[in-house]
């Protein structure tokens, strides 16, 4: 750990990596709460994969891949909605069809570009190679996402909890859905360098699910989830740097360890306390 701290003081690339992954931990944790509460974990996975053709197209055109990614992310979520609303195809099936199609398109586009190293980095991320411009775009996206969630917290809360009531008093629930999908796409883009497309979904749902086991209040859940995301990022980066592991995988596994801890030891939902409660109850009854 001391080596890591020394290296952190010394190497600019490590500082950039740390700042970027902390920001990713925060925004994934925050957006992830809404994703899991709306039962859209699969949607999160889908959208994160679906940005691949957008990233490839942006490379080809030489523009910031932010634009291409948002375009394809939103297009895919519209496509998913269109298919499930206009046929007997269920939502999860529609998600499966659309995101694999987008992902496959992306892979073919990147193969045509003949640069497989880029593909590897996009798919799995490499936070230790993050460039200053990428760090800044992650920070800007992060601030934008956080401001949006803060500004529309009330609307996000009521539409996630009871979308019927939200619609009944005139909130545009469909607009809110696609707005959230857009934020999700932005978060995915911001996370490309850190955890990569394939594992973004873990950063979205694992810290949020961990927080979900620990509290009964949404705003507490959001802060906890962001905090857990940050912890996972720091631990992951540490292991990635020290043992030369893939950064995305290390961060995701760190998040998984935190989830398992909460799953076992959470005061209200954890296995241990539930078992204790059950035993006590049985003792009471057998007396």
């Amino acid at each position: 750990m001391i080596n890591f701290m020394d290296a952190l003081m010394f190497y600019g690339f490590l500082q950039k990596a740390l700042i970027t992954s902390i920001m990713v931990g925060i925004i994934c944790g925050v957006i992830g709460c809404f994703i899991i509460l709306r039962g859209m974990a699969l949607m999160g996975d889908a959208i994160s994969h679906a940005v691949l053709p957008g990233v490839a197209l942006s490379y080809m055109l030489g523009i910031n891949f932010f634009f291409g990614a948002v375009f394809f992310g939103v297009l895919t979520s519209l496509g998913i909605g269109f298919i499930s609303q206009n046929s007997r195809i269920k939502n999860d099936v529609s998600i499966g069809i659309m995101f694999t199609a987008a992902f496959a398109t992306g892979i073919i586009m990147i193969t045509l570009m003949k640069s497989s190293t880029d593909l590897y980095h996009i798919l799995f991320g490499n936070v230790l190679a993050v460039r200053p411009s990428e760090m800044w775009s992650t920070l800007i996206i992060g601030v934008f996402v956080l401001v949006c969630v803060y500004a529309f917290y009330k609307e996000l809360l009521v539409s996630s909890f009871d979308s019927t009531m939200a619609a009944a008093y005139g909130l545009p629930t469909r607009v809110i859905h696609y707005f959230l999908m857009t934020l999700l796409t932005l978060v995915t883009v911001a996370s490309l360098q850190t955890v990569g497309i394939v594992l973004v979904v873990a950063m979205l749902i694992t810290p949020a699910a961990t927080a979900y086991l620990l509290t009964n209040r949404l705003w507490v859940m959001i802060f906890l989830s962001a905090g857990i995301g940050v912890l996972a990022s720091i631990f992951g980066l540490y292991f990635s740097y020290t043992y030369n592991l893939a950064s995305g995988a290390a961060i995701v596994l760190a998040a998984t360890v935190l989830f398992v801890l909460a799953f076992v030891f959470s005061p209200k939902q954890g296995l241990v306390f539930r078992a204790i409660k059950n035993v006590r109850k049985r003792e009471l009854l057998s007396r």
Binding site: K154, L157, V158, F161, D162, T164, A168, Y169, N216, R217
Partner: protein, 247 residues
Amino acid sequence: MKTAIAVNGLYVSYYGSEALKNVSFTVEEGNLVGIIGPNGAGKSTLLKALLNLIQKEKGEIAILGKTIKEMRTKVAYVPQRSSIDWDFPITVIDTVLLGTYPKLGIFKRPKKIDKAFAHECLEKVGMTELRNRQIGELSGGQQQRVFLARALAQKPEVYLLDEPFVGVDVTSEETIISILKQLRDIGKTVVVVHHDLSKATAYFNELILLNKELIDFGEVEKVIRPEVLDKAYNNQFSSLTNLEVKA
């Protein structure tokens, strides 16, 4: 007395199959109205059409003389219990506080006065002690009371409740119906989707009897006659009497 709800020639269908056919009725302010009818009669559909949550094919709906879009904040809806995610990380008091959101508008947060009002509404349904519980930890009746409190917090003129007595204990049912009667007595309009015919006379003063079409509408005593009910329930009751005769 003003007209609270006026429905004229309402048609609603789901994917081509008709859910409501040519339904017309008017409810004056200060009435407690039950919507009754067999399963699949379109009772919930009627509530959702009133709220403009589903598209109508034809017909007019007026709430307090205007369209629902202009009157949204004057109407509160209490959903069926089965449509709520009871594991959602939200406490009882925060659920009631949601009722103050419609009048706050976008970007604004509930202030002290709104929170105090939410507490007041929670007290009315007798749930103050459980205010910091997560909503999933409550019994069915307590959950229903919380959602009634949320509707109260919306300060509406019209209350629409979908099956509020399903899976609800007797005490909660009594609390809820007495609050609904108080609301009626101060001039609010309350419409309740209900399936239990036996309590209809005790609970409501007007009934809407529905089976895709409007079978009958009016004073409870006028509607709740066997020959009228038979039309809605497709002679289910007469077949029951036949069975009795045979046995």
